[in-house]
Symmetry: D2
Subunit: 432 residues, 4 copies
Amino acid sequence: MEPHGELGEATPAARGDLAEVLRESFRAVREATEALCTPLAVDDYQVQSMPEASPTKWHLGHTSWFFETLVLAPAIAGYRPYHPRFAFLFNSYYQSLGPRIDRPSRFVLTRPTVEQVYAYRHAIDARMAELLRGSRDEALAALAPTIVLGLNHEQQHQELILTDLLHAFWRNPLRPAYRPPPQLDRPSRPLTFVPFADQLRSIGFAGPGFSYDNERPRHRELVPAFELASRPSTNGEFLQFLDGGGYRRPELWLSDGWDAVQRGGWQAPLYWERQDGRWWQMSLGGMQPVDEREPVSQLSYYEADAFARWAGARLPSEAEWETAAGTQEVDGNFVESGALRPVACGADEEGLEQMFGDVWEWTGSAYLPYPRFRPEAGPASEYNGKFMSGQMVLRGGSCASPRRHLRASYRNYFSPGSRWQFSGVRLAREPG
Amino acid sequence: MEPHGELGEATPAARGDLAEVLRESFRAVREATEALCTPLAVDDYQVQSMPEASPTKWHLGHTSWFFETLVLAPAIAGYRPYHPRFAFLFNSYYQSLGPRIDRPSRFVLTRPTVEQVYAYRHAIDARMAELLRGSRDEALAALAPTIVLGLNHEQQHQELILTDLLHAFWRNPLRPAYRPPPQLDRPSRPLTFVPFADQLRSIGFAGPGFSYDNERPRHRELVPAFELASRPSTNGEFLQFLDGGGYRRPELWLSDGWDAVQRGGWQAPLYWERQDGRWWQMSLGGMQPVDEREPVSQLSYYEADAFARWAGARLPSEAEWETAAGTQEVDGNFVESGALRPVACGADEEGLEQMFGDVWEWTGSAYLPYPRFRPEAGPASEYNGKFMSGQMVLRGGSCASPRRHLRASYRNYFSPGSRWQFSGVRLAREPG
Amino acid sequence: MEPHGELGEATPAARGDLAEVLRESFRAVREATEALCTPLAVDDYQVQSMPEASPTKWHLGHTSWFFETLVLAPAIAGYRPYHPRFAFLFNSYYQSLGPRIDRPSRFVLTRPTVEQVYAYRHAIDARMAELLRGSRDEALAALAPTIVLGLNHEQQHQELILTDLLHAFWRNPLRPAYRPPPQLDRPSRPLTFVPFADQLRSIGFAGPGFSYDNERPRHRELVPAFELASRPSTNGEFLQFLDGGGYRRPELWLSDGWDAVQRGGWQAPLYWERQDGRWWQMSLGGMQPVDEREPVSQLSYYEADAFARWAGARLPSEAEWETAAGTQEVDGNFVESGALRPVACGADEEGLEQMFGDVWEWTGSAYLPYPRFRPEAGPASEYNGKFMSGQMVLRGGSCASPRRHLRASYRNYFSPGSRWQFSGVRLAREPG
Amino acid sequence: MEPHGELGEATPAARGDLAEVLRESFRAVREATEALCTPLAVDDYQVQSMPEASPTKWHLGHTSWFFETLVLAPAIAGYRPYHPRFAFLFNSYYQSLGPRIDRPSRFVLTRPTVEQVYAYRHAIDARMAELLRGSRDEALAALAPTIVLGLNHEQQHQELILTDLLHAFWRNPLRPAYRPPPQLDRPSRPLTFVPFADQLRSIGFAGPGFSYDNERPRHRELVPAFELASRPSTNGEFLQFLDGGGYRRPELWLSDGWDAVQRGGWQAPLYWERQDGRWWQMSLGGMQPVDEREPVSQLSYYEADAFARWAGARLPSEAEWETAAGTQEVDGNFVESGALRPVACGADEEGLEQMFGDVWEWTGSAYLPYPRFRPEAGPASEYNGKFMSGQMVLRGGSCASPRRHLRASYRNYFSPGSRWQFSGVRLAREPG
């Protein structure tokens, strides 16, 4: 797949013409979303394979509704919604923006059709273009933060489109492929542990550029000395856990995790399947043999935690991860979305590899507000803060993440039993 | 009752030429199915709005699988299935025909696409045509019963396509219309009770022609004197029940029915909705004002039973219904797919109206085998017999039934809490 | 256990002194209930091992509430209830008698204590005695039907006390015994089939004496020729079904039954357990080896039906069973409750054995009203009629039934998946 | 790790004689448990009013099993268990100690009876006394940590006996009282905020004496300046939240909390009930009018969090709470079981009141391991560590906590939706 969303222009490099930057960023992100849908049949847009997932059609509508509701409607006097019921259909969870269809019922929306949803998207695109064209500088400056939030929001849905589709294709007995499997032939380097000394460290977004409210405010934390694995754990390493009876040994598991193993009959990562004496894995390229050199993925927090305990290690905390990541560059920026199988993030002088863009890495930190956290004002206040309960933080970013969407302070979060993301594990431990 | 499924007699054209009759019947039924799909967008084929319903796409595939598996495969030496996994996808519930996808998971089948399912249909059509063309008379005579079963089976799915779609469209907040609402302006005649005397009566299919195994064997029953309503109860009459607190008076309900009312929050028939002080009803023509002259529909058995108790009457037994229906003509034949709003079945000299083709009428009889019932041989043994538990019989046929699919001995059945069919009520009572 | 409830006096034999008969019947039945509780610890009275079962304490309170509410309160002007909240606690399902505790929550009633419930019972006993003593003949005659209904009601709860306790003891890992196991050494006679010719037969209660409303009105039915097994099927015969893979062959089962097998993991009758290579069975005498000569018990309708199909037979209809039973005497009367392991019902000249008092025998008839059925007037209208949905009829009576509670027209009923009663199977078939 | 369980200092009386101290502590805690049961009827011991609660009988057995399994069996060569199945019945969740009855099924244990469970307790008491009497000093020193753990464990169950009983009595429509209501007439002091400056602070148990593994290791944390409420929030203050529509305003709630409100129909704290225009509250003294001066209790984390947001404040973190509590004395010791309504903890010079012994105070901290946490060795490793997922920390202690069980470093934890504990809220906020 081609790079989608080349938006370096939105960074400080390209000042002077804010309208042009916004216009170009908007175009690039919106196009990138549609590019992801190229391989789909109309049928594929409709499926919701579990309550937590959404149909692609809905993702397309929802991301457009976001711009319509948070940008266009406030900015344009007397704004007339594109369709009187679309707010009901495409609002995700914003209580302040009115009632909405039950999340598990998004699949019933055979109407609007895919064609109509694209028409909606394009109408919003046109209205946005007009708004950007017709607004004066001060007005644009006032709109820019919400537009940029909307673009980052859409990038998050780009990843979800892929992970939700993969789940649906996995449930389909035909196991269709979203795209041809990549020709990977990456050697896996030996795992080493990189030491970090005691430090009093600033954690959280340090700007400039975009960040979510949950990455702020930057604040100081004591980070005692620790060691972090040089790379994510691989399928090969996870196979040892599995072959060593990892899924049958309660002493390795959190109590809730063991319950999940029992109740769900877990015996391997979500997309693994044993056939004819070997392990296969459902992927965007269809069923493929498990590659022992690739990072293990589609793990729940419980599995990541049990694996770490089995390995005599533990999960890193958020602060540890960010401390380590701070030493590694990601040439990121809110708008450039990456390849689906990213180029490897080059090993830096610290010896850490693959921090961004292979798998989200579960941390041992609960998703809670930073000290003195304040949610965004307005409807965006519901974006992050109200979900700060019952979830664990993941750091880094996956092969399905738009590449320039990522940064060291980024806090992703899922409930500890969630397994359908590209989520893996990087080990941490105490110094010798 | 006149014979109406006599395949020799079924099409005016053709006596003596069984192949021609089968070919023509096959073509007509298969085309009727596809004709029902004309108003659909690709998106619509995919939806499964509850576990009991199926996507249209699945209905299309399943009815083709039926012919492939029960007719083509046994008839053609070395038959190669169209697709190695389609048996898994499109087998409904035939244990003897191998494993199959969980019923509530039929919605995950975004692949095969609608286009691919039509290709499958047409390939089966072609193979069937070839088989009919190439078979000698004795061979055809041996195939004919299963082919005719397959056509009747497909007609049943024609009705389900409509009722399942209507349910999905009802759940969609946009309430789309499947087709323009009919321009009905039928007066509703006064309800009278037609008396029937004690009789020792033969019940069950009397041939010739097609019937399901559950309509046989014809046997004698004592039918004490009773009276049957001249027509189904209307929306207007049901409104009186509703306005009289029918849904709030436990003494009118069976215990299971009252539980269903409480648990489901039932306050009216399934598709009724109160807006601006009047009742509306979701229909194939979208939301329409409730027409007080039309038969009440989308009732569960529990509601039909409670309504009858409120009215000082009861539901008829199967035997009573069939006794009464035996006096009324239906110009049916198994192959003509009827109008969705059928022409009224003419009142006959007995005074009974609308026995066929308005609403299925709940009887007070459990769906159980007739004395000395024997299921069909072979895989078709699973067609009816194994469902003889936990369901109640409905008689007559609805506006969504292919018109010539119906007959007086026909036994439809649903669980007593089912409400998404065109199911209504005709009252019975003891003679003065 | 001693016979409890010797009430031959309530029959026509003992006329002349209705008050005395009622008093004596009342005393005998009420004592019989308490006698059943002799082996219990206070702890045992409290348990509700599934929503369908009730604590013994609740049975004791409920049967007293029945007399208080249906007899004492209407009969005594200005009657003051024993306790203002007991109606809420001990009403089972009578909508017309006010709100009540949720059925599955009966276990929360640690208060009133067992001691207080006995005090309640004895207070009601005293008030009833006083009422019977103080009423004149016409008043007594008016009260008698409800009192007799209450006594029959209490006898039904006597059986439930035992079956509910057995379920609770079965769930207890210690598997306690309610009483010492009986020393049975009954030979099992060979199973033969007894033929019955075509007949037009009267079905339903023929009086005199007590009957439930659901046994009436007596009416005529056509009963085609059939054959009925001479005795219930035995554990030994059921073992052959089981060893022949009966629980793994879907073609033997109703669809709902097969679902129950899969969902519930059924592999044998409810209380069977395999230990050290042989089958054991939980019983009122604790865990005992399965006795191959005894009737198989704790079967659901689904299992009885599948077993019959496996045996090349079927379940009898209600009418068939009653036709056959009409030829066999049970020296019954509404008040004498039998031994828990009854003496064998002697084989009569017809060749039928064990029709009453071993196991309830599932019939193939749904529990529906007889033609022209009318429920009792008043609150007792809720006794039977509202449950005529979703259940199958059992006939005969079990080892836990009070022996004189039984009669040929008696209709017991349970949902087809219920397995915790002493319910078994007697085969029927068509004449050679 | 420092020695913990410094029993030499634990009781004032007895230095130098470890056996005597252990014996006396053991006696006191065990007696305190039984004293709590004095008001119970045998019936009350049996009830399990929800899966999360346990019958009193089970608590009595389980706490005895703990000593038998963790102390007696390892200490005594060839130890013979009191009963071969009690390990199955009374093991709570220790995977390493073998299989056990499902937690939600503890209620089925009508056997062993209450009497038998007391016999078990007393037999264990006797064996423990013998062990303590017969062991030499080194042996005793080795046993002491586990014995002390067992006593603290039993104190935790003392609190659960009360909270579980209260839940059961609340579900009982009679709303029985466990004991007479206390005659409280405490004025409520005005709420002020006590400021704390930035500090680098040691958190965790500092010894000497007993602590759980989850309170260790003591470690340093940065605690930025904050303010803490001088006392818990009261019923009166919570009423303002409630009257201000607190339960109907989604913007005040975490997303999971709002779901809980909707799904559970929450409108007030768990035990509140509106009658005749005023609020009543179920308590150990039965239904009582809500006292506006008392701390609000039976709150979930979600309610505490929403209330704090409504109040323009937030919940304190663990570290903040412990920082503040460090300045307040609790005259604690592991063995004295406290009054159920404790004497007020005297206000100290810092202005904080009621930190210990009124209500557990929800913190905003997830229950996670402290840096470098190591679980206890052996079976006790399952005591705390495996539950470090999906729960929030509470601090302080409630009126149902044995008073000397508490300390500033104590970490209690429950899932955020749990409401049946004496759990309330103390507000925190940023410095002006």
